[in-house]
Structures are given as structure tokens and as C-alpha cells.
Subunit: 155 residues, 3 copies
Amino acid sequence: MDTETLIARAQAAHARCIDNNTLEDWPEFFTEKCLYKITTLENFTLGLPAGLMHAFSRAMLIDRITALRQANIYEKQLYRHIVGLPAVLGTEAGGLVRSETSFLVVRVLREGQTDIFATGRYMDLWELSGERPLLAERVVVCDSSRIDTQLALPL
Amino acid sequence: MDTETLIARAQAAHARCIDNNTLEDWPEFFTEKCLYKITTLENFTLGLPAGLMHAFSRAMLIDRITALRQANIYEKQLYRHIVGLPAVLGTEAGGLVRSETSFLVVRVLREGQTDIFATGRYMDLWELSGERPLLAERVVVCDSSRIDTQLALPL
Amino acid sequence: MDTETLIARAQAAHARCIDNNTLEDWPEFFTEKCLYKITTLENFTLGLPAGLMHAFSRAMLIDRITALRQANIYEKQLYRHIVGLPAVLGTEAGGLVRSETSFLVVRVLREGQTDIFATGRYMDLWELSGERPLLAERVVVCDSSRIDTQLALPL
């Protein structure tokens, strides 16, 4: 299977994990030592710190999920990711592959309202040598600067 | 061609059939004896009956299209499906393949208003042995519980 | 690589070019003599002229980008394309390949508002014999008749 296809399927599986609310599996999409951050295009362009979410390891991602479960956020709302095809940008040291992928996330409140929650791109670094693709790095760059401050959710 | 690709292209063809308003071809995506239902995540999770739409054969789907044409619903609105990549979940008795695919449907009214009509996932069972992929089962699970009651349209 | 995959990746690269605001590269997705137009489904169905945008060569597309840069439109808003899988419809004279692809474009204003800007389908004619796929023709058929009159932007 070629690299684009491999990454496209990993993206679909990742989105499915969040949308189906099986968040306990989410950290397993990442390498043990990893970088995960959510930022805005404005901060990203200006080189400012991420602000919205920042994690340096799979253990921190697990903590995040535990916190989310305690806050019961998923009781009240659902997410639906629609993800574009990845652009493979090149291979880096250690055989890691860099890709960029557009996303659109819709939020559905239990009371019924549906709206566009976020759009942007995933700037990823993939480890593809193992049994399944793992994210060594994911920087989620949101198009809008006005992101819901409640955004402690994986994107 | 591998199974994921085969299903992904069948999904795109299915969406195109609805969006291009060639609904008379829509029942041909299904096996003769089939299950088609539209339900909400809430009903699906609680094991409650579908409510929104229920058909047990291609003949019933043909009836549905005839009814839709008489109601002239497509004169007033258009749909645009955006479909994710399918997750292939496994193979069942008789070689049928189970998959799950995210979707987003936008509704465009002739007067101009555009909004998100529905999001959710297709839970499908495919017969892949024939000339083209056919749906032996499609359960459309909508994320929102507040679905337009006018929803007699294929999703 | 098969034709569908080739076109799907070209579509993703095209969308990325616009969304990442590297518009100067946009005309390079087209053949030197090409047809590019944006129209509505209503005009398209009735055989009426496009109205929204019309270009007959790569040079005209370059002019368009120059005009856009002078108008500074991209300072105030961003676009995010989500593109479906292409349906390959057939091969025409000279080996050109016809395809049809659904799209959804979200507009994100700098002040924060996000909405669906346009949905529709790309009706394309591809030259696939070169180093990378080129558009000999792109007719963008928008679902809604109420398109922002400011629409001088590539879709």
C-alpha cells in the first residue's frame, strides 16, 4: 500500500475513534513520546505559543481523556469529522513522513443544534514503520481565531 | 482493487446518484432483498425502532422513489453529500463485508439558503462478489435526534 | 496509479493551493489553453452563460490572481475545501479524461464567523499524459443560485 493511502486510512480511523466516542483508544494513535498541539492559524503564522492544547507524550494524552470523561463533555455533544485526502510533503530524519490534511468538524448538540465547530489542517509527522501508522507529531492549525474556549477535546 | 477502495468508490457513486437527482437509479445500489433504515444515534443506542424510514427490499425502495417524485420534493431543494473514507470492519457469513462511513449532507434550498441537513454514519453490509458492489444492508445512523420530519429522502 | 487515484490526489493538491493561500501556483493546475468557468446549477441546466467567472487560458487565470491580490480579499477571509472522491466518466478525444467531483467550501472570516460558502460539483476534463495532471477544462457548478457576488475567487 502506498504512503498516501496508508495515511488516508489512518486519518479515517482516527476520526472514527473520536466521533464514535471511543476516546480511550485515541492516545494509541500516537507514539509514546509525541507532540500534540492545537493552535490557530494566526498564532501559527506569528510563531506564537499554541494556547489551546499542548501535550508532549502519550501519557499526557491519556490524562486529557481522563479529564474529559470526568467533565462529561461527551454526554452533551457529538462530533463528526470530515477529512480530506492527505498531501504527503516528504520524508524526514528517521524515515518519518510529513503530511498535511484538511479537516472539517461538525458539532451536534444533544438538543439538536448542528454547526461547524472547526476547520483547518492537520500538520502531521507519521511513523510508518510499525504495525500501524503512528503520529509522532500532530499540529492542528484551526482556521478561525475564535475557537470555543471549552476546546479541551481532541480534534 | 482492494476492498476499501471498492467501497469508497461505490459510496461516491451512491452520493452522486442522489445529489444529481437521478433517483430512479438509487434502488440499483441495493440487493433485491435488502435492509435499509434511517435512524438516530439515540434510537440506535437504545435499541429502539428506526422510525424515520424502513425498507426490506429493492421493490420498497422503488416505491419510495415513486412517492418522492409525486411529492416533487426535489423541485425545491438539493442535497450535497460529503462522504469520508470507509472503515472496513470485517467479513461475515456469505462473504458479505461490513463497513462504517461518516457522512455530511448539506441541503440547498432553491431560494438560496444552505445548511447542514444531517451528519452521521452509514453502517453497511456489502455484497462485493458481483459486477459492482451492492448494499445488502444500510443503516443510516444520524447524529442528531432532531431530524426534519419531512425526511423521506434517501441519505 | 489508476486514474481515479491520480485525479483524487490532484483535486486534493488543488484545494490545498487555494486554502493555503498560495494562489500564485493555482494557474499551474491548468493547461495553457483551458476553459475555466463558475456557474450555477440553474444556469447550467438552462444552458445560460456562466456569469460568475469565465476564463479561456492560463494567462487569464494569472490575471485573475493578480487582481485578487490587489483587492486584498485574502486578508479578510479564508477558505477550506472539502472534496469528495471523483467519478471518472470516460475518456474523450486526445486521451482527455472527464470526471465529476463534489465539493463543499467553508468560508472563515478573520473576525471569526464560519459558514458554508458554496457546494456543488467540479465537471472536469483532465490531461493526464504529462508529469502531473492538468485541467483542460473545469466547470464549477454551484448548487445555490444565490452566490456571493464578490465571488471572483477560485473555487
